[in-house]
């Protein structure tokens, strides 16, 4: 019998064209996503070399990082953003690359529209000039973020040169409690491993919690795997994966589908395969989470206190700098902290299930007066679902407005910036200094925790609001 392999080994090994002696593997890339921010310089490089795009049909372009979330039918006001969007459009046309620009019915955040349209499939290698490309690992693909030099490399050669990462398995057994969403599961894991705990590894998620999780939940988990330093995360494809993919516009159809399913069924870690690191957590320990610091590893259960410096793994000086930026102190309670902004959206939590969760709390309640809420769907498809399912009515009755799709206040490259000193409860993926605008203070949380803050105006345990229903 052949040596037992992990899911990661199976997908990686199937893509190695050549192993460079004492060097990285030459890895073939099945799908390449590009957007307006990290691609223009790559195209300039390509032009400088006089090289063509080797396989233009394997690259998909969408505009998302810079795009406004209001009045998308009007010309983009910021000239530099407009310039980047125009460059993407021009480059896509020149090299015959499929482009879903602003206003296109399929436009939205790259990591939302890829899966939504059936571009992302199990067993693929997928890259994009964006660290949250790890999202696509939810389908049993090897997906990771790359830099602009590598974007140029993939355009020119459809390959990337990477040493094979080490393997880690993270198992979460048991069942999650009331009010605990996939976002809480991953925030909990990152708080336990730290923001660098998985650097050098590729993670496979295993156990009951992930087996029972929806595809959208799995995408949230894989999306944030990069926040513990891992190159990416993946989950073995199963019936949930197939049910999600079947019938999507670019999913394989008919005979091709029937041929792929038996292959996809082999994509799981063999009995006896080994990992370089195996971590196990108990779902019962996971509460609704919130971050209090300036990296995603500095988070805790929402009812908990901010830990003392000696109890965190980051260096004491960095930790104190972090709390000073946030205006927080050791041992303070997170419950009741005032909030100014609430952001629901991003490639982490801009999908329909996130809006359903948010609406479940705000239904029959009112937006708190002190809160500015930016509710930003991940794509036009999500926007339509929000309307079709009656969620928009719930939001509107509670005093909220819906914006148009894009990355928005996740990284604040467009107009949606949280002002200096203000606090935002955000469903996005990063709470770095200035991430949501210079001086902005971000508390990462699930859509339920964000909704609880949006209706109470302060950090609140969403389970209390679920109780009252």
């Amino acid at each position: 019998m052949s040596t037992p392999k992990t899911l990661f080994d199976k997908v990686w090994d199937a893509h190695v064209i050549r192993q460079v002696k004492d060097g990285p593997d030459v890895l073939f890339i099945d799908r390449h996503f590009i957007h307006e921010v990290t691609s223009p310089v790559a195209f300039l490089g390509l032009e400088g070399r006089g090289a063509p795009v080797l396989f233009s049909g394997r690259t998909f372009a969408t505009a998302d990082h810079n795009t406004p979330t209001l009045n998308q039918h009007l010309p983009v006001a910021d000239p530099m953003s407009a310039n980047q969007l125009a460059a993407l459009e021009r480059n896509a046309a020149k090299y015959n690359i499929s482009h879903w620009g602003l206003g296109h019915i399929k436009n939205g955040i790259v990591h939302v529209v890829g899966p939504e349209n059936g571009i992302t499939l199990p067993g693929m290698t997928i890259v994009c000039g964006d660290s949250h490309t790890s999202t696509h690992g939810a389908f049993g693909a090897i997906a990771f973020g790359i830099g602009t030099s590598e974007v140029e490399m993939v355009l020119a050669t459809q390959c990337i040169m990477q040493p094979k990462p080490k393997k880690m398995r993270i198992t979460v057994n048991g069942k999650t409690g009331k009010g605990v969403l996939p976002k809480d599961v991953i925030l909990y894991i990152i708080s336990q491993t730290t923001a660098s705990g998985a650097t050098g590894y590729f993670v496979e998620y295993a156990g009951e919690v992930f087996e029972n999780m929806t595809m959208e939940g799995r995408m949230t988990v894989c999306n944030m795997t990069i926040e513990m330093g891992a190159r990416g995360g993946m989950i073995a494809p199963d019936q949930t994966t197939l049910d999600y993919l079947k019938g999507r516009e670019l999913s394989p159809k008919g005979e091709q589908w029937d041929k792929l399913v038996p292959y996809w069924e082999t994509l799981k870690t063999d009995e006896g395969a080994t990992f370089d690191l195996d971590l196990t957590f108990d779902a019962a320990d996971i509460e609704p989470q919130i971050t209090y610091g300036t990296n995603p590893g500095l988070g805790t259960g929402v009812t908990h206190q901010i830990p003392a410096a000696e109890d965190v793994k980051d260096g004491s000086a960095s930790y104190k700098k972090s709390l000073q930026y946030m205006g927080f102190a050791e041992n303070e309670s997170m419950i009741g902290k005032p909030v100014d902004f609430v952001f629901l959206g991003s490639c982490t939590n801009g999908r329909i299930e996130d809006f359903r969760a948010f609406a479940s709390i705000v239904k029959g309640r009112q937006k708190a007066d002190n809160i500015t809420a930016w509710l930003v769907p991940g794509s036009h498809v999500v926007e339509k679902q929000i309307k079709d399912e009656g969620i928009l009515d719930i939001l509107t009755q509670a005093g909220f407005e819906l914006r148009q799709p894009g990355c928005s206040a996740c990284l604040a490259m467009n107009e949606d910036k949280v002002p200096a000193g203000k606090y935002a409860v955000s469903t996005s993926n990063r709470n770095f200094e200035g991430r949501q605008g210079p001086g902005a203070r971000t508390l990462l949380a699930s859509p339920l925790v964000a909704a609880a803050a949006a209706v109470t105006g302060v950090v609140t345990d969403p389970r209390i609001l679920i109780d009252n229903e």
Partner: protein, 198 residues
């Protein structure tokens, strides 16, 4: 892209003993709107380096004339977060050729090598020695020897070797990039692509 070849670098260093320096700090998102690769050094560490009115913050190390050099020494997990290569461009454009830390984030490490910056990973103990040496004498010099894969505190001769992939070392010392290599195996790639199931 073309960059200067890297062999032996002898320089004083700029200390930044902070853990988890993320690429959002190295170059904030609002400076990623350019469509050409130039001028990023001006905005390196923008929000740590300047006040809102664009006056320099006196207590930030890049504004302190005591410290200078082509080597940036950072705390653990340097370059975490966003994949933006602009962070590496900004560091290179500012004039650094080497970043030293006890731990680098993966994508940042790749990006650095791809743009001609050498990331040198040292032990936490040696990192502390470097910080202490710079604190004692800001002009203290380090020698980073890529062919020998060593980093040395010249004043004391204390040295540590560092790891680098042979292939990447070859590229950096010769100023080559991966794309040249890959283009030479085009027909192999095309044959591989034809056999893919999707």
């Amino acid at each position: 892209m073309a960059y200067d070849k890297f062999t032996i670098l002898r320089s004083s260093a700029v200390p930044m003993p902070i853990e988890n320096v993320d690429t959002d700090q190295i170059i904030p998102a609002r400076f990623l709107k350019a469509t050409e690769r130039k001028g990023f050094g001006d905005n390196l560490f923008r929000d740590w380096r300047y006040n809102n009115d664009n006056t320099p913050k006196a207590d930030f190390v890049l504004n302190d004339p005591t410290y200078s050099g082509k080597i940036l020494v950072g705390g653990k997990n340097f370059g975490s977060g966003s994949s933006r290569e602009h962070a590496a461009w900004a560091i290179y454009d500012y004039g650094f050729r080497c970043v030293v830390s006890s731990f680098f984030a993966d994508i940042f490490q790749n990006n650095s090598i791809n743009v001609g910056i050498l990331p040198v990973r040292v032990s936490p103990e040696f990192l502390e020695k470097i910080f202490a040496a710079i604190e004692a004498d800001p002009k203290t010099e380090l020698e980073v020897n890529l062919p020998a894969q060593t980093i040395t505190l010249l004043a004391t001769g204390e040295s540590e070797s560092f790891a680098i992939n042979e292939y990447k070392k070859h590229n950096l010392t010769n100023g080559y990039d991966d794309i040249d290599y890959l283009l030479s195996m085009k027909s192999e790639i095309e044959a591989f692509a034809d056999a893919r199931p999707f």
